[in-house]
């Protein structure tokens, strides 16, 4: 006999699967597996990456990491996250950087560095372009790449 909890989880899994299936490529927002954060809304991710807040919803310090400026994944990420192109994102940051009060997320050399840094830093948040197989990473949000 199946337990209701299991059934609910199964249903959720199926639903999630049904959603990401038709997409080309998805972007996976990840935190270290050790983090207390288990899931995030897109808005929470935006607020952290666009400098509105430096904390997760639960209040823990959040340290976002980014890919290099010219990395195609970065453009795809911001496009999926905010609907804005890299030029707009750069413009946004240039206004804020003018005052020097708010700084953009720190860029890392590549996806491997990203996975490695996030896995080892408990406050970190990052993104990868493939579903991580590494047990040290935990996906909190899947962003569907917009066409």
């Amino acid at each position: 006999m199946l337990r209701p909890a299991f059934l609910r989880r199964l249903l959720a899994f199926c639903a999630a699967f049904a959603i990401w299936l038709p997409a080309h490529a998805d972007i996976f927002v990840v935190v270290p597996a050790t983090s207390t954060v288990k899931t995030m809304t897109q808005k929470e991710v935006v607020d952290i990456y666009m400098g509105r807040t430096r904390a997760f919803a639960g209040g823990e310090f959040a340290l976002p990491f980014d890919l290099p400026r010219d990395h195609p994944g970065r453009a795809a990420f911001y496009q999926a996250l905010t609907g804005m192109g890299p030029a707009q994102i750069n413009s946004y940051w240039s206004r804020l950087m003018f005052s020097g009060q708010v700084m953009p997320p720190q860029p890392l050399p590549g996806e491997a560095a990203m996975a490695d840094v996030v896995k080892r830093n408990p406050s970190a948040i990052g993104y990868v372009l493939q579903e991580p197989s590494d047990k040290g990473l935990h996906v909190v949000l899947v962003l569907k790449e917009s066409k």
Partner: protein, 568 residues
């Protein structure tokens, strides 16, 4: 006569009293310009007022638009600043806003409407500053248009807005006023050129034109078909008609003057005396001939004027008055021969015509009492009268003795009988000389004539009244008529006796010869001895004949009744 008067308004009685208007009421053009200027000024005032309000409104609208544009320009940056909670950037934004002079105060509010820290700039908004509603722009998240994250509030500087609004309003109003004035100027110039100037010029020309002038007005260029052309042509027609009327009047006056001179000449030089009297008989006017007729100088006219003319001119003014009354009654001209009172003593006669005219036409009569005037004409008939009386005398008188002839004495008898009433009486003496024939035969006719003249003188000497007349009715026969002397009177008998005695006196002829004649007298009285002349003369003749038969040189009265003879 209708002279062309001054142009109405050129001597306006109010002109002096309206000094402040500088003759505006006297000049069509000035009135027109003043009217247009007044209208333009009023319009400019109203339009300017409206334009001012409109300008103020527009200025405020424009200010709000400007502020809104400013807000829109910085909205994104402001939103990013709020989103990222970047106070420096917020301050920067707010500070940039306040640079605009219109912006009194700018701030970025949170969702509760409170200003964020460092996000307010400009002067504080005070309650006593000119109130203008703040312009607020909502700020949304740069990444989620549905999420409001704050608001950008800007307070407009009321004072600055007022300054701008006034400037705008003044500019607008000035433009409107200038336009009105420009239009007014154009209208005034056009009106002056098209209407008032031609009319003013026409008025001056017309005013300077003397009555009856041959001058005509010229139609101003370009006005042939409009009302000014009509005005000029009508005025010219009137001028022509006026001149024609004046010319006619002048000709007529000349005619009248010529006629008057002619009449005056006739009046002054005519041989007829002409006079005009008022109804009371006082002299109004007379010509020189009248004065000459009454032996006066022309200079006496003045003193005669207004005086009783009739009493001073006519011997018997009552007869003239009677003529006048008759003329007035019958409405005809009456005439009579009248004797004039002559200054020189020689009696003058005039044939006088008088007629009474109803008053009203003669200027001197309109005030005259009784109404009407009396016109009289006098012809001098003194000479005719004198000639007439000579003729009559010659016809009536016996050439030798100067007594009445037979016809005249008979007429005298007839006249008396015709006039006589029931109480009238008259006596006739029929005289026949005795012994006259023998004197004639013996001494010649001249002696006979001398005897007759002598006897006549003696008879005349015995006549006592002016009315008694003697006439020679035959060679040596005389008839004496004694009017108002009847049979009962003794006068006739006395006269007869006296004549008888005197005739018997000797008569001395030229050559010294003395002769003597007698006379036989027959007496007859009216009405006792006859009712007609024939009967009376016959009765007297019969009585005389009786004397002759019975010895002559005596007097016998006729018998009564007829046919019975008596002898004295």
């Amino acid at each position: 006569m209708s002279a062309v008067g001054p142009i109405p308004g050129s001597a306006h009685p109010d002109a002096g009293r309206r000094l402040p208007w500088l003759g505006v009421r006297r000049s069509l053009h000035r009135r027109f310009v003043a009217g247009v200027a007044l209208a333009a000024a009023l319009f400019a005032l109203v339009a300017g007022g409206l334009a001012y309000r409109l300008g103020a409104q527009r200025a405020e609208g424009a200010a709000r638009q400007t502020v809104a544009s400013l807000q829109a320009a910085v909205a994104k940056t402001a939103a990013i600043a709020v989103y990222a909670n970047d106070t420096v950037l917020m301050h920067e934004v707010v500070d940039g806003m306040t640079r605009n002079p219109l912006v009194l105060h700018a701030e970025i509010d949170d969702l509760q409407g409170r200003p964020l820290p460092q996000a307010a700039g400009g002067k504080p908004v005070e309650a006593d500053r000119a109130a203008a509603a703040p312009v607020t722009l909502g700020l949304v998240s740069p990444f989620d248009a549905t999420e409001r994250i704050g608001a950008l509030r800007v307070d407009i500087d009321g004072d600055e807005l007022g300054v701008i609004a006034r400037r705008e309003a003044w500019t607008f109003a000035a433009l409107m006023a200038a336009q009105s004035l420009l239009v007014a100027l154009v209208v005034a110039l056009a009106g002056a050129r098209l209407v008032s100037r031609p009319i003013v010029r026409l008025a001056r020309e017309l005013e300077s034109m003397p009555a009856g002038s041959a001058g005509r007005l010229a139609v101003p260029d370009g006005h042939d078909d409009d009302e000014i052309g009509v005005l000029v042509r009508s005025a010219n027609d009137l001028l022509a008609a006026n001149a024609q009327a004046l010319q006619r009047e002048r000709e007529l006056r000349l005619d009248i003057e010529a006629m008057e001179a002619q009449y005056r000449q006739i009046f002054d030089s005519t041989s007829a005396g002409i006079f005009v009297l008022d109804r009371e008989g006082r002299l109004i006017n007379g010509n020189p001939t009248v004065l000459k007729l009454v032996g006066r100088e022309m200079s006496d006219m003045r003193q005669l004027r207004g005086q009783d003319f009739l009493g001073r001119v006519f011997v018997r003014p009552e007869r003239v008055r009677a003529l006048i009354e008759e003329s007035a009654r019958r409405g005809e001209t009456m005439s009579a021969d009248l004797e004039l009172l002559a200054a020189t003593g020689e009696s003058r006669w005039a044939h006088c015509l008088v007629s009474v005219q109803d008053g009203g036409t003669h200027p001197a009569v309109e005030d005259a009492p009784g109404g009407g005037i009396i016109e009289g004409v006098l012809y001098d008939i003194t000479e005719r009268k004198r000639a007439e009386s000579d003729v009559r005398r010659r016809a009536e008188r016996d050439a030798l003795t100067g007594t009445l002839n037979r016809a005249a004495i008979e007429e005298a008898i007839d006249r008396f009988l015709a006039q006589g009433g029931p109480e009238a009486s008259m006596s006739l003496l029929y005289l026949d000389l005795d012994g006259f024939k023998s004197i004639n035969d013996r001494h010649g006719h001249a002696s006979g004539d001398r005897v007759l003249q002598q006897v006549t003188a003696r008879i005349r000497a015995e006549l006592r009244r002016a009315s008694d007349v003697v006439g020679r009715i035959g060679g040596d026969e005389f008839l004496i008529v004694l009017p108002n002397d009847g049979a009962a009177d003794t006068t006739a008998a006395h006269v007869a006796a006296a004549v008888l005695a005197r005739t018997a006196q000797p008569i001395e002829l030229d050559d010294g010869v003395v002769v003597q004649v007698g006379v036989s007298i027959g007496l007859a009285s009216y009405p006792r001895h006859g009712a007609t002349r024939r009967e009376l003369v016959h009765a007297a003749d019969e009585a005389m004949y009786e004397v002759k038969r019975h010895g002559k040189n005596a007097v016998a009265s006729a018998y009564r009744p007829f046919g019975v003879r008596s002898k004295t």
